[in-house]
């Protein structure tokens, strides 16, 4: 079992190494010219240089900080909203079509409107990221709450628990693996929301710096920042996925 898992992990690392190696080779031999993309080893070196110089640290902190705020808001509001929506059958039925079509709405299109309302600051960007993430949390939390076995609810009633106690001690703990799926999406969406809106119009942040570097053919800034966003997003996602796997394994579900 663990041996098989080790083999799969090795295989994945090998695939990644081959892909990066190939890219490196293509860049170094000039098939991909350095004006389009520097070799990966160069990107890593540039990234380390950027981090060491500290010049872009405020931009990085602004983006990651805003993404973190949007993420925390999306998860806390999303889980709370899901519990309320789940408790009120009529509300659930009224909102289901909205949830089903929500991601057909290009939320970023509301960005100019939000700038008019709140000014060109952090608020419209956090709002966009929050709007992108919150519904993923709601939908996945509802999915988990729907699956709570009736017998656990009956057990809670025999324990004469209040609705709040039932939510905190029975239904939400049961739903945690499903909620985590929404949480992972919320991480990705909050980064997309923040970086995307910084791209469109902003006074700073990683998205702004990437766009600025792009305009100025500054590959030594653009590619490292893209790499940094990738690393942050993928690391956070993988950590949560590992936690999710551990929870499911403990429950005998995987």
């Amino acid at each position: 079992m663990t041996r098989a898992r080790h083999r799969i992990a090795l295989l994945r690392i090998a695939v990644l190494a081959v892909a990066v190696g190939l890219l490196e080779a293509l860049c170094r031999t000039g098939v991909i010219d350095n004006f389009t993309m520097p070799p990966p080893s160069r990107i890593v070196r540039d990234l380390l240089a950027i981090l060491a110089s500290g010049a872009l640290i405020p931009a990085i902190l602004k983006t990651l900080g805003n993404a973190a705020i949007a993420f925390v808001l999306a998860v806390s509001v999303g889980v709370t909203a899901a519990v309320c929506i789940h408790a009120i059958r009529g509300l659930r039925e009224a909102l289901d079509p909205l949830f089903a079509t929500y991601y057909a709405i290009p939320v970023l299109a509301f960005y100019p409107l939000l700038i008019i309302l709140f000014g060109l600051g952090d608020v419209p960007q956090i709002a966009i990221a929050f709007m992108l993430g919150v519904v993923a949390v709601i939908v996945n939390t509802l999915n988990g709450l729907d699956r709570v076995p009736r017998v656990l609810l009956k057990t809670a009633r025999i324990g004469r628990m209040t609705p709040l106690e039932i939510a905190l001690q029975v239904t939400l703990p049961y739903a945690v693996p499903y909620i985590l799926t929404g949480v992972r999406l919320a991480i990705a969406y909050s980064l997309i929301g923040i970086v995307g809106s910084e791209f469109i119009m902003s006074k700073g942040g990683m998205g702004f710096e990437i766009a600025f570097a792009y305009m100025n053919f500054d590959n030594a800034t653009m590619y490292p920042l893209i790499l940094l966003i990738l690393v942050v997003s993928i690391t956070a996602n993988m950590l949560l996925a590992a936690w999710e796997r551990a929870l499911l394994a403990r429950r005998g579900l995987r």
Partner: protein, 288 residues
Amino acid sequence: MATREEIAPAARVLPGRDSPAAAPSGTAHVRLRGVTKVFTRPQGGGDVHALGPIDLDLITGEFFAIVGPSGCGKSTLLEVIAGIQGPTDGEIEFEGRPIAGGVPDGVGVVFQEDACFPWLTVRDNIAFGLRRSGLAAGERRARVDRALEMMGLTGFAKSYPAQLSGGMRQRVCIARTLVMQPRLILLDEPFGALDQQTRLLMGEEVLRLWRETGATVFLITHALDEAAMLADRIGVMSARPGRLLDTVKTGWPRDRDSRVVADPRFGAVTGRLWDSLRAESLKAMGRP
């Protein structure tokens, strides 16, 4: 022969027959009068008369079993007694007080389905209800330790339910009920999902707990031999709408165990139960 008369067929003509389950002696721990349950289908299409009217007295400290064809409303009856569902009509009293709008204190229920919380260890599962009981931590720990020992789960306190067999998970649920020290224990086919040998042994466990706790036990089962082996009295329910057709007194001594199945009177009890149930089971299957 005389003893045989005493326990089974003769009971049919005893005065209790017409008000089938009125308490012959002792005090009523639970009293049901004219209890009915009608379900309204949410999509329309008429009501379903699931239960009753039922009159029933559970005597304090007795072991009462209900048998009946599938779908006859046995579980509904249990949930009404537990206060999980309200009756459509009729009255239920527990310890002299009407059950209304919720589960009364002192009632414990074990369900057929696995009711373990999969995210909690065995110990935390058993302690679940105690957390809110206001008892001191030491007393809670002592009760959980005792329940773990009684149910043979001591070595598994730190395991998660997914690591246990079905029988052990059911023992966790029984232990969780026991630590609350209920005065009325309702068992809804708790061994339905277990194999025959495990069922017999779990039956002995329940008998032992019943003796040691002095609680009133109300067991729902579809297995006639299980009812005949465990109970002091057995109520036979009709096909839907579930009514009590007959109550049978077994007359076993209090310190019995599964070996009563070898007693000749055991056959008389199950025979009488089957006598009442056969026609109802055919009805439940849709035959005349």
